[in-house]
């Protein structure tokens, strides 16, 4: 069996990253609030300039926060959720024939960045097409190769090349 993803290793990596990001988020919020409170308390009676300065800093912080929560943090959460749900979800094994590999990166419904492996499978003497997702571009399976694929949420986790 050729392993495409080392589930446990990836799960641990993303779990740790999620924890680090969460701590960073909380810490940044606490620091920002402390800084804002200090600015208010230490501001002179003519506080107009300080007020606008703080509003500017707060705007930049909030934009950064929204970006961080909706992009890097969300990615980590989605990857971590994918690997975590693997232990509870249903995995499948399917005999497939590789047709081609589209290396354009897409975001699938789980939020993972994937490429598409075009395959076919035979059911009741009829051939059907099936696109499966591959995490990353590095998969060297020539066209026409028969594989026994190990899939979870239509993502290729590992495969065996069949004779």
């Amino acid at each position: 069996m050729n392993i495409v993803i080392e589930i446990e290793k990836e799960r641990a990596k993303y779990a740790q990253r999620k924890k680090r990001y969460s701590v960073g988020l909380i810490l940044s919020a606490v620091l920002f609030l402390l800084g804002a409170a200090l600015m208010i308390v230490l501001s002179p009676d003519e506080y107009g300039l300080w007020q606008w300065l703080l509003i500017g800093v707060a705007t930049i912080y909030i934009w950064g926060l929204i970006y961080f929560v909706s992009v890097p943090y969300k990615v980590v959460r989605q990857y971590e959720a994918f690997y975590r749900s693997y232990t509870r979800g249903i995995t499948e094994r399917e005999k497939l024939t590789v047709v081609g590999h589209n290396t354009d990166i897409k975001i699938n419904k789980n939020g993972l960045e994937v490429t598409t492996l075009k395959t076919t499978f035979v059911d009741k003497n009829q051939s059907f097409e099936r696109d499966i997702y591959v995490l990353g571009k590095n998969l060297s399976l020539p066209s026409g190769t028969n594989i026994n694929a190990h899939l979870f949420c239509n993502v290729l986790l590992g495969y065996e090349v069949l004779e």
Binding site: I40, V41, Q51, L54, I55, T59, W63, Y67, E113
Partner: protein, 207 residues
């Protein structure tokens, strides 16, 4: 993580109200907090209740504020009411009694009031410290002094530039509930006497 741009586009498409709304809310909150924190304390602000036909509030406030700026006076306000108005008494009793530090009232208004309800009776010490030595006419009720003549109807005053007085004798009185009357009033805060200093200033004129 090569799709950062694509993910950002998705985030913007879904979260654009947050990008606008949250900074606006934060701005309002910051503005409010600055305002609350820098709000003048009771002993840093002064309110004068003036019974007059018309008052140039801004000018007289600026004048008093400029005089006492170095003594931490941050806000001066005027509550003005025409003694001829039907709601004058109500305004005096609701707004004046509760907010004002000093009252500039004509004799006819004073005669209709019970000064002991809200006016500070002048003690010897107060008179010696804050009223200059020249002979003064006082408003006395039940053997207590509640006011000092500020402007006689027959004489001009430096305050005529700011206040359109009714043609009567005007008395200057002090609110017993003021927090700016040192320890003469209801509160024992000897170091805060801005109302009394303003009282002296109004009596003495622009010197």
């Amino acid at each position: 993580m090569k799709m950062t741009r694509k993910r950002l586009e998705i985030a913007l498409a879904y979260n654009w109200p947050l990008f606008i709304g949250l900074p606006v809310c934060a701005g309002l909150a910051i503005s409010y907090l600055f305002g609350v924190y820098h709000q003048p304390l009771p002993y840093e602000k002064l309110n004068l209740f003036v019974a007059s036909l018309e008052t140039e509030s801004e000018a007289i406030c600026e004048n008093i504020q400029a005089k006492f700026a170095d003594q931490n006076l941050k806000e001066v306000s005027i509550t003005s009411a025409n003694p001829g108005d039907a709601i004058f008494n109500q305004k005096l009793k609701v707004v004046g009694y509760n907010r004002a530090d000093l009252f500039l009232l004509p004799l006819s208004v004073l005669d209709d009031l019970t000064p002991s309800d809200v006016m500070l009776p002048f003690s010897e010490e107060l008179i010696d410290t804050y009223i200059n030595s020249e002979a003064r006419t006082y408003y006395v009720d039940e053997q207590l002094t509640f006011g000092v003549l500020l402007r006689s109807r027959s004489e001009d005053s430096w305050l005529d530039d700011f206040i359109d007085f009714v043609a009567e004798d005007y008395y200057l009185c002090i609110n017993v509930k003021s927090k700016n009357v040192a320890d003469f009033g209801m509160y024992d805060n000897a170091e805060y006497d801005l109302a009394l200093q303003t009282f002296s200033y109004l009596l003495g004129g622009e010197q």
